[in-house]
Amino acid sequence: MHGATHRTTRVDLRKVPVDGRAKWSTVAIINEPLALDDVALKTSVSSATRHPILGFIVRRVATGVLTLWIVSILIFAATNILPGNVAEVVLGRNATPGRVHALDVRLGLNHPMVRQYVDWLFGILHGNFGHSLVSVALNQASTSVSSTLLSPLLNSLILAGLTALLLVPLTLLLGALAGVYARRSLDHAISIPALVLGGLPEFVTGTLFIYIFFVVFHILPPVTDLAPGQSPFTDPKGLVLPVLTLLGVALGAGVRQVRAGMSEAMQRDYVQYARLNGIPERRVRIRYALRNALAPSVQIVAQNLQYLLGGIIVVESVFAFPGIGLYLVNAVLARDTVKVEAAAIIIAAAYTLLNILADLIVVLLVPKLRTAQR
C-alpha cells in the first residue's frame, strides 16, 4: 500500500528538541519521529554557521544517495534470495545443459552474485536495466527492459502529478477549515468522510468507485484503456477514477493531520492575545493560526506525495492503468526478476528524491532547524 509511514506520522514541530533526540509528543497522535530530528542531526555546526541551506542540501543529497545505494542492495538481494537457476526456469522444458550454459553466459548469470550485482548497478547508472527474462524465454527480438520503461513511467508521472496538483491545495484547505471549525458541523462534514476514506485500502475505494460511477451511473469507464504509447490525456475519462481513488486515500490521511495542527494552533495563547488586541478574526486565523500550522502541514503534504508513489501500485492495478505500478505487479506475477528490479529502483529513487525535497522545504520554512546545534 501505501507508504506505511504517511498515515500516523505527524511531526509535532513544537516538540522537536534542540538536542536532536526524538521525544514523545504529548499529543495523542503517535510520533514516529521522521525527517525532522534527522534534519537536526545531520545539520552539523560548521556547515550550519556558514552556508546553512547549502550545507544542508549537500548533506541531505549525500545521505539520499547512500540510502538509495543500500536500497539497491536490498532490491537485488531480495529478488535473488533463492539461488534457483534462472536459465533453467526460463528455458523450461527446452533446457539442455548446453542451452542452459549458453543462456547463463548471455545473461551474465555464470558470474558470482556480487559481480552480477555490480554489473547490474553499473548498467542502471548507464541507463541499461538489463534483459527481460520473459522476453528471453519467448525468444523475442527485443529483450531490453530499458525500452519498455519509458511509457509506463510517463503515464505514472501524469497520474501522480495530476493527483498531486489537486491533493496539495485540497489537503490544506479542507484541513484548515476543519481545524478552524473544530467540533462543529463543517468539521464533521469534512472529518468523518476523511476518517473513512483515509483508512480504507485503495482497492476497496477503487472498486466501490467503479461500482458507483460505472455500474450504477454509467458515466465513467471501469478501466483506463490505453494502447501502448498512447498518452493518458487522450482518454481523460479514464483518468478520473484512478485520480479520484488516489486522492481519496491521500486526502483522508492528510486532512486529519492538518486539522489537528490547525485546531491546536487556534487554541494557543498568541491567537487569544491577537483576538484580545482587536485584530479581526479573519486575520487572526490566516496570519496567526494558519501560518503557524503551515510548517508541520507541509511535512504532512510531502509525506502524502510520497504515499502516492506506493499508492499507484495498487490503484494502477485496479484500473489497469498502464503505469510503472502495473508494470511492477505484472513483472512480479510473471516472476520477471529483472523487470521487477528496474521498476523497484525507479520507484525507490523517486521516493528518496521526494524525501529530500520535503526536508528541504521544511528547513526553509522553519529557521530553528537550520541552526540546530548539537
Binding site: H2, A4, A22, P33, T79, G199, P222
Partner: protein
C-alpha cells in the same frame, strides 16, 4: 510521553468507555465472527459451481454467483479468516522484533543504536508495498513469506517508537537506581523499562494492525498472495471484477467486509490513543 496517569484501572475503565472503542469493538466482533464462524452456517460449497457465472441474487443464493458460478455467500463466509489470521500473526511477530530491536537500540548507548536505526531508516525509505513485492518475487507467495514480508515492512516504525520510549524511560530515577543496585541488564529491561514503554506501544497497536490487514489484503487482491481458488476477500474482489455489471455483490460484499474490518480496528485504535493521550502527564 504518554503515561498512565493515576491508577491504571481508571485508564482501562476510560478506554473501555470510549465511544470509538465500543463501536469499533462491536463491529470487530461482527466481522471476526462472520470470518471465523460464518462457515459453520454456510450450507453450500465455496468451491463447487452452482449455476450460471455472474448470476444475480436469487434461487437460494442470497448474494448470487461469482465469475465461475460459485455461491458468493459461501465464499464470503469462508474467505475472511485467511487475511485476519495472517495479519494477526504478522502483528504479533512484528512487535516481538520491534521491541527487541527498540530496547536494544534505546538502551545500549553504543554503536548498536545508530547501526540499528540507520537500518530502520533504509527500510522506511522505500514504499512498504514495494518491499513486500520484492520479497514475494524472491521467495514466492507462501503464507510464511507473506507474514515475513509484512513484518519486515511494519516493524521499523514500531521499533522507532519503542526506542524513543526506551531512551526516555532509561534516564529516569528508578532505572538508574536499578543500575546502581547492580541488577543485570536483562532484568532491568524486563522489570523497569518494559512495563513503562507499554502505553506508547498500545497506542500504536491499532494502526499497525490495520496496516498489516491492508498490506496482506492488497497483496491478495493483486493476485500475489493467497491463490485462487481459495476463497479470500481480497482475491474475491479482483477475480469478480469481470462480472461486476451482472452481479456486483460478488465484489461489493467482500469489499464491505474488508472496509468494515479496517474501520473497526481504526475506531478502536483511535479511541485508545484518545484516552491514553488525554491522561498524559504533561497536558
Amino acid at each position: 510521553m504518554i503515561t498512565l496517569g493515576g491508577p491504571t484501572k481508571r485508564v482501562r475503565w476510560r478506554v473501555l468507555n470510549d465511544w470509538g472503542v465500543r463501536v469499533g469493538a462491536i463491529m470487530l466482533l461482527i466481522v471476526v465472527g462472520i470470518a471465523f464462524f460464518g462457515s459453520l452456517l454456510s450450507s453450500q460449497s465455496p468451491y463447487e459451481t452452482a449455476g450460471i457465472p455472474g448470476a444475480s441474487p436469487g434461487g437460494g443464493h442470497l448474494l448470487g454467483l461469482d465469475f465461475e458460478g460459485r455461491d458468493v455467500l459461501a465464499r464470503l463466509l469462508h474467505g475472511g479468516s485467511s487475511t485476519i489470521i495472517l495479519a494477526t500473526t504478522a502483528t504479533i511477530v512484528l512487535y516481538v522484533v520491534a521491541i527487541s530491536v527498540g530496547l536494544l537500540a534505546g538502551y545500549s548507548k553504543s554503536v548498536i543504536d545508530p547501526l540499528l536505526m540507520r537500518g530502520v531508516d533504509v527500510l522506511l525509505s522505500v514504499p512498504s508495498l514495494l518491499v513486500m513485492l520484492l520479497f514475494i518475487t524472491g521467495l514466492g507467495s507462501s503464507k510464511p513469506v507473506l507474514v515475513l514480508a509484512a513484518v519486515i515492512v511494519l516493524f521499523p516504525g514500531a521499533a522507532r517508537i519503542v526506542r524513543s520510549a526506551t531512551l526516555e524511560v532509561s534516564t529516569r530515577g528508578f532505572v538508574e537506581a536499578a543500575v546502581a543496585r547492580g541488577e543485570n541488564t536483562v532484568a532491568i529491561l524486563r522489570r523497569e523499562v518494559l512495563p513503562n514503554i507499554i502505553p506508547p506501544i498500545v497506542a500504536d497497536l491499532g494502526l499497525r494492525f490495520s496496516w498489516s490487514i491492508i498490506l496482506i489484503a492488497s497483496v491478495n487482491f493483486l493476485g500475489l498472495g493467497i491463490k485462487p481458488p481459495s476463497p479470500d476477500w481480497g482475491v474475491m474482489i479482483s477475480e469478480n471484477l469481470v462480472t461486476l455489471s451482472s452481479n456486483p455483490w460478488a465484489v461489493i460484499a467482500p469489499a464491505l467486509m474488508i472496509g468494515l474490518l479496517i474501520i473497526a480496528v481504526n475506531l478502536m485504535g483511535d479511541g485508545v490513543v484518545r484516552q491514553l493521550g488525554t491522561s498524559g502527564a504533561g497536558r
